[in-house]
Symmetry: C2
Subunit: 252 residues, 2 copies
């Protein structure tokens, strides 16, 4: 399995590019790549084979080879995850990235046992983003999922409104009737091209009623994943796996 | 959410039973239940509401009430998991139990980075079984999934042969063609009642060729979950979620 590095620019076959910054440091000092080694470079315009041409302490020069097949799902799935203890959020981001989640929206909820102080948001988001980057490299994703943070459900409204064709699904243990399969097989969904989904997962203590109302105002459908109680860090992965399976994105 | 206790015997409505042993200790000393508290009792013949009638240091008397609806999936899914570092196996068992896996078969593989010494098997299996029991209680399962251990793939043969109607699926990164969806929609599978599945998940380094041959001798089908590389502790949960979804076991 070739090691994968993400670069933010577009690249083209035959070009030699210097990878610097965090990625260059990671390649040079952590992965300790050597001249002549084969890599795969995930750039803004696709994924390419590459050969390491030179290594310095903080940067690596690679010559871009042929384009490679893409790995990311065409169905965009976002996980909106209620804030929980740190290692649970790391699990959500790491495992979700592996299975193919397009992005993560962390949100402070009324019953979150953890509070994120405003002056910690930037640092914490950067750490979560790093978890996503490492998992994206390991799982051979084409793009690193973006990690966002909002301090309330209502604050997510702007982000939701900017997404085209997004279906918002809220996992809710109070919902007994509407299941994921039933919903994904509605005729209007089956005929739409490239539907994308956001799955909202509540905190350990569940959603507050005011939050259920907020979700409804945002156009959400509350659904059940069945009678077994999934932990907050498990539910999003299970729902994302089921949707990707339904959309032929788990190997068909 | 009522707290759930597992008892190995059959119970009936109106009966008062003493719960002793590990379960009684857990109820009395860890969960610290009180007289008058409502519980749910998962017995060999079903799940029942119950009321705590008396509490001693090591046992709890409960009066059995009305039967409750069952939560376990009707489709039995077993995860055959290559031995990996301890916390990964705990993750596999905890999350798999939540989603509804019927049992776990841990197996020593050629590329497992961890070896389980013969004199440690009993102790380790007991610890894994405890992880399953705690997760079964938390996720409101009807039965505690059983955890088994075998020291090689060939040793699994006897267990496999004893399962009726079991389809053995091996996740293999070398398989490019046969996907889970395609396989689950084969006409002969769609028409069978109560098919059960075993999903085999390799170690971090993948299956050795000799193991691929052993699986084929055991009647397995190798499948892919698509182009993204799932970690060993993630793959079984993703596959189990997809199968349960396909079989209408995730809320329908």
């Amino acid at each position: 399995m070739m090691r994968r590095v993400f670069v933010s620019d577009a690249v083209s076959t035959g070009q030699t590019v210097w990878v610097g910054g965090d990625d260059g440091h990671h390649l040079s000092r952590v992965l300790r790549v050597n001249t002549g080694e084969s890599l795969s470079v995930a750039a803004s315009n696709g994924v390419f084979a590459a050969i390491v041409k030179a290594v310095t302490k903080e940067a690596v020069a690679v010559t871009i080879g042929e384009p490679q097949s893409r790995h990311d799902a065409q169905t965009a799935i976002y996980v909106i995850q209620a804030l929980a203890k740190g290692d649970k959020i790391d699990t959500v981001i790491q495992k979700g990235t592996e299975v193919g989640v397009a992005g993560f929206v962390l949100v402070q909820t009324m019953r979150s046992v953890v509070q994120l102080a405003p002056n910690k948001v930037e640092q914490r988001t950067a750490r979560w983003q790093k978890v996503a980057t490492e998992a994206a490299s390991q799982s051979q994703r084409d793009k690193v999922p973006r990690v966002m943070y909002y301090n309330s459900l209502d604050a997510i409204g702007g982000w939701l409104a900017a997404q085209a064709n997004l279906r918002l699904l809220v996992l809710d243990e109070q919902e007994q009737t509407i299941g994921l399969k039933q919903l994904l097989n509605e005729p209007e969904i089956r005929t739409e091209q490239r539907q994308s989904y956001a799955i909202a997962v509540g905190p350990e203590g569940g959603w507050a009623d005011a939050e259920r109302q907020a979700w409804r105002r945002l156009g959400a459908t509350c659904i059940t994943l069945g009678p077994r109680i999934l932990r907050t860090e498990t539910a999003g992965l299970v729902a994302a796996s089921a949707i990707l399976y339904e959309c032929d994105e788990l190997g068909g």
